[in-house]
Structure formats: C-alpha cells, structure tokens
C-alpha cells in the first residue's frame, strides 16, 4: 500500500512543480519525433518499395496492394542467368581495390601524420583534390589508356580505377585515426627495441585497427556502388552487379522482378556493413575534435 502511495505521490509532486515548463517541452519532443519519422519514411520509401517488389509475384508487380504471397521467383530467375557471376565480379573488384587502397593508403597516412616534412600540408591537400574532380573528366583518358594497356574489361583494371579514388579517402580518414594514437606509445616502443616499422606494425596499427576496419568498409562500399566506370570500362567479362542490373532493361521488355531482386541483393552488403561500422566511422570523422 505504502509503496503505491509513494509512487502516486511522486509524479503528482513532479507535475505540480514542473507543469509549466514540461508541457511545451513534451510537445516539442513529440513534434521532433514525428518529424524524424516522416523524414525516415520519405527516405526509406524507395528502398522498402524495391524490397517488396523483389518478393512480389510477377503477375501483380504493379498492384498497389501490400497484401501478396511473397515469392522468391525473382531471385531464382537471377540465379539462372549471368547475374551470379556479375555479383562475384563486384565482390572481387571491391575487395581487390579495398586491399590495394589500404596497402598503399594506410602507410601513406601514417607518414603524413608522423613525418613533419616541409610541404606536408600541401601534399595532404593535393591528395584530397584528386577526389574532388568529377569522374567524367577521367573517362576518356582511362578508356583509351586501358584499351592500349589491355586492361579493358578486366577485374584488375576496374580495381585500379577504384584504387585511385579510394586512396584519398583512406589517406584522409586514417590520418585522424593515427593522430589519435599518442606518439608517446611509439616512443616507448622505440626504447623497448622497435624500429619505425615495428612500432607501426605492433603498436600503432593495432590501436588504429577499428579505424582501418571502418575505412575498409567505406572503400568497399564506394567500389561496390560504382556504376559509371563499370559501365564504361567493362563489356562481358568484368561486368559488375550494378551494370548487370541495368542490362535487365532490354528492348524486349523490362524484367522488373529481376531488377528488384538484383537491387535488393546489391544493397544488402552495403546496409550490413554500414550498420556494423557506423560507430567507428563517426569516431573517425570526428576524432580529435574533442579532447577525450
């Protein structure tokens, strides 16, 4: 009994004292939540629409009803064509370009962070500038050079193009992660018997590992999402998933189930990775802004 009374009394007291201040606050809070929901619905609508399309029977694709018997026909149809190969191509190209970007970019970022050479700021800035140029500017040079080098329609060729774009991201993101590792730790490692490379490998890199993971995912997603270069530089052998999906838009007709199913499959890894690393990614983009 007593506890119920106490429970009843506390909110009563609370509202008595804070009623004037609380009501507008609550309204604002609910209003904000409602606005967020509306924004979320608007943003997610195309995505959700595509996903439901992928599971709809071909007959009532454009039936606006949400009540339907889900089917995997679209996905089954994909498996029979060349889509699985394109999907694997996408995986291979993205993985390869991510690995190369990290192999070159991580040590570069480390050098830019720790080595105070003259013109360091300029070098860092010009690396970023490479990322700012519109892709179309490089299309014809790439196309001609690749034809001459025999890199056209190869996975390696495509991975190299993505490498050039991802390097800037790796170098800039990893600089913030390396800056977050105190130099005293490296100095302690030198005194304990490490050379520069060993200190980097055994101390700095493990401590920046979450950053490396987040950066890797970002690189992977950039390569994975590319449509433009994949369209220009591939024909049959190295076609990636986004290009393969567009190929379902044919003169004979548009294969909506396949397009929706393919789109869903292509989105899946991106969503998964983003959810996995968002914490580190935000940290990487803001690290150093606030003293821990």
């Amino acid at each position: 009994m007593a506890s119920t009374d106490a429970a009843l009394q506390i909110p009563a007291l609370d509202t008595a004292s804070g009623a004037r201040r609380k009501r507008p606050g609550r309204l604002r809070r609910h209003g904000r939540a409602a606005a967020a929901l509306a924004l979320l619905a608007a943003t997610l609508f195309p995505f959700l629409w595509l996903v439901q399309l992928a599971f709809k029977p071909a007959a009532d694709l454009f039936d606006s009803s949400l009540l339907f018997v889900p089917t995997l026909d679209g996905f089954r149809a994909l498996l029979q064509g060349s889509f699985p190969r394109s999907f694997l191509n996408s995986l291979a190209v993205s993985t390869l370009s991510t690995a190369m970007s990290l192999a070159i970019g991580v040590p570069a970022a480390y050098a830019l962070t720790r080595w105070r050479f003259p013109g360091r700021r300029h070098v860092a800035l010009w690396i970023l500038v490479t990322r700012m140029a519109p892709p179309i500017a490089f299309t014809i040079p790439f196309f001609l050079a690749y034809r001459w080098l025999g890199l056209q329609d190869t996975l390696l060729g495509l991975a190299l193009v993505y490498l050039t774009f991802n390097l800037a991201i790796v170098i800039w993101l990893m600089q913030t992660f390396f800056e977050a590792v105190p130099t005293a730790l490296e100095e302690a490692a030198y005194i304990d018997g490490c050379g520069v490379w060993q200190a980097f490998w055994r101390i700095t890199l493990p401590l920046a590992a979450p950053g490396v993971a987040a950066t890797a995912v970002l690189c992977f997603i950039f390569a994975w999402n590319d449509f433009f270069y994949a369209l220009i530089l591939t024909r049959t052998q190295a076609v990636t998933a986004p290009v393969a999906i567009v190929n379902f838009l044919q003169y004979e007709g548009w294969e909506w189930s396949k397009i929706a199913a393919g789109g869903t499959l292509v989105m899946f890894p991106v969503v998964l990775f983003t959810v996995l690393v968002r914490k580190y990614l935000v940290h990487g983009l803001t690290a150093g802004g606030v003293k821990d």
Partner: protein
C-alpha cells in the same frame, strides 16, 4: 650499467636555441635529478639521452660509447614516461615482456623474467589485466616494471609522479628510491618538483633556460646555492630575499633602504655600498623578545599563520618597508595575524647574492 656523459650539448628548434652547451657527467650507478621550471630544457635533455630527439651539437656518451647517432633501440636505456605510455592493447604481462620479445628471447625466459619483475613491484595479481583496468599507481608501477625488466644501462624518468595524487606520489617516490638502491642502475630523473629531486637524487642539476645553473649534492645546493635562482628553487618553502646595500664598516652587514640591519658572518666578495640580496631560509629565523632592536632583531607584523603540525609557518611583513618574509618555527608559537613580532636571523646561515646578476657573494 654505464656512466653517462653529456658534453657541450646544444639543441636548436629551427633557429631557436633551447639548450646552450650543457655539460653533465653522471657516474655509473649514480642517481641524478634534472630540475628546473617548465621550459628549462630538462625534458629535452632527457629525450636526447634516450635518442628520441637529436642533439644539434655536442657529444652524448653512454658507457664511453658515442651514441649521438644511435637509434633508441640500440642505446640499451629504459624510460618511464610522464603519462606511462603503456600499450593499451596488451596485458600487463605483455607490456612487461614486450622488450624481451623484441630481443627474440624464448617464451619461457620472458615469462620467468616478467614473473621476477612482477614480484619485485607487487604486480603478480595484475598480469592478465589491460592498462585501462589499472589505477594510476598500478600503471605507474607497470611502467617502472617495463623499464627494469630488461636490465638496461640506464633508467630515464620523465616526471613520473606528476600524474599521481599527493599521497601516492610520496609512496611511489620511496619505491623508486628503494628500487635504485636495490638495482644500482644509473638513473636520470626529470622533475620540476624540487622535493622529489632532493629526496631521490645523489646529485641535482638545476637548469634554467637551457643552461646549467648549478650541479651538486642536494644539501650542497641547499646550503650553498650558487645564485639566487637556485636558492629560490631549492627548498620549500623557498628562501626569503631582502634587497639592500652592503655595509662593511663596523662588521659586515646588509642595510635595507628602510634601515634594517642584517648581519653577515664574514665579508662577502663585494665592495662597500654594492646593491645585494640578503637571503635567509625560513627555518633560520629565531624569535626575539620585544624591543631589543639594538642587537639585530627585526620588527615584523604577522600576516598569515600556517600551522603544519611539525612546524609553524608564519608569513610576516618585516620593517617599515614591508619586506615579505616567511619564517618557519619548530615550536608551536601562538601568534595571530596583525600582531607584532621580533625576528632574529641566524647570521651564520645568511646568504648574499649580487642584486643584478644573482651570483653568490659569500
């Protein structure tokens, strides 16, 4: 273990000189403290000994071998950092054994040695923890363990106690001293805290603006500071200074502008009438009975009374000129702010410094 010699060391950052030709000789097994205010170059000197910074000029010799261009890992020195610099992704055991692992020692040997060191420092229950799970004092101990584990030629300490609370600081200070007595390793210890330097070191080097002001045994620096800077820096509470003019006729003494007579034990190396600073340590004042101003007692007024238990510190305003003087009495004297008091400085303990250069004159 090894002797350590710095000969005419200079350091420039760009065009800015920060160390101006420092000479320090450290004997094998000696414990030397480098003290001075911030920016005096003590940490820079230590980092040059470690090899973390290069010397612009001069020679650094470790055990007779010139190490100016030797990377840190080949100097066989160990360092304890101000912020400990423990590897956060390794356990305490891995932190301790890291140097041995880099040397390529077998796992069993590393474990044995880590066990020994952990026993010395009382770290055994913590071996499987990571640094973030340790308290400040425990981290400090791991940092020391990491230094002693590989039996280096010299230990370097960079303000190792500055992140600890007061009580822990005294405790770890004692541990460092005990450790040095036990291991007898050459040690260079950087601190801005003169009490740490006094209690730990065999010899203290006082630095200011990249120059050695004085080097010597702690009590030597305390009893005969070479200049006013060292006199002020060594000793807590610090020495009192009263400016005046040297009077040699009728017994050497310092006469202040407001007429106070401050007797000196013997004539200093200066001329009649020179501007000087009369220096007296807080504990070198005695209470005199009222009114006997004739025999050198100074009239004073109590400003603040600070009883510490062991002694009573009294801040005073002396003479009509209101010179600030802090006196420390072993006895628990009962005085209140505003009350008058008569002080008699002990003439045998007086210091005289040149007013302009600060150089010792007696």
């Amino acid at each position: 273990m090894a002797a350590l010699t710095l000969h005419q060391i200079t350091k420039h950052y760009g065009d800015t000189p920060v160390i101006h030709g420092v000479d320090i000789g450290i004997r094998d097994g000696e414990f030397v403290a480098l003290v001075g205010p911030s920016g005096c170059g003590k940490s820079t000197l230590l980092r040059m000994i470690a090899g973390l910074e290069s010397a612009t000029g001069g020679e650094i010799r470790l055990g007779g071998r010139l190490v100016n261009d030797t990377p840190p890992r080949e100097r066989n020195i160990a360092m304890v950092f101000q912020n400990y610099a423990l590897y956060p992704h390794m356990t305490v055991a891995d932190n301790l054994g890291f140097a041995l692992k880099l040397q390529g020692q077998p796992r069993a040997a590393i474990e044995r040695r880590v066990g020994e060191v952990a026993a010395i420092l009382g770290l055994e229950p913590l071996l499987s923890r990571t640094p973030r799970q340790l308290s400040g004092g425990q981290r400090q101990r791991v940092a020391m363990g990491r230094a002693i584990v590989r039996q280096p030629d010299a230990f370097l300490f960079d303000e190792p106690l500055s992140n600890l609370d007061a009580q822990l600081r005294v405790q770890v200070r004692t541990e460092i001293k005990a450790l040095h007595q036990r291991l007898g390793t050459t040690t260079v210890y950087v601190t801005h805290d003169q009490v740490e330097a006094m209690t730990l070191a065999d010899r203290i080097v006082v630095l200011k603006d990249g120059r050695v002001e004085q080097a010597g045994a702690p009590l030597e620096l305390y009893d005969r500071p070479a200049n006013a800077f060292v006199a002020r820096f060594i000793g807590s509470p610090s020495m009192n200074f009263i400016p005046g003019r040297l009077e040699l006729d009728g017994g050497p003494r310092v006469v202040t502008d407001d007429g106070l007579q401050l007797p000196l034990p013997q004539a200093p190396r200066a001329r009649q009438g020179d501007r000087v600073l009369y220096g007296a340590r807080p504990e070198h004042f005695a209470l005199a009975s009222a009114g006997d101003g004739e025999d050198g007692a100074l009239p004073a007024r109590v400003v603040v009374v600070e009883p510490t238990g062991a002694e009573t510190q009294v801040a005073l305003s002396v003479g009509t000129g209101g010179h600030d003087v802090l006196a420390a009495f072993r006895d628990r004297i009962a005085v209140r702010p505003g009350e008058p008091l008569w002080l008699r400085p002990q003439p045998g303990q007086a210091h005289v410094f040149d007013a302009a250069s600060g150089t010792r004159l007696n």
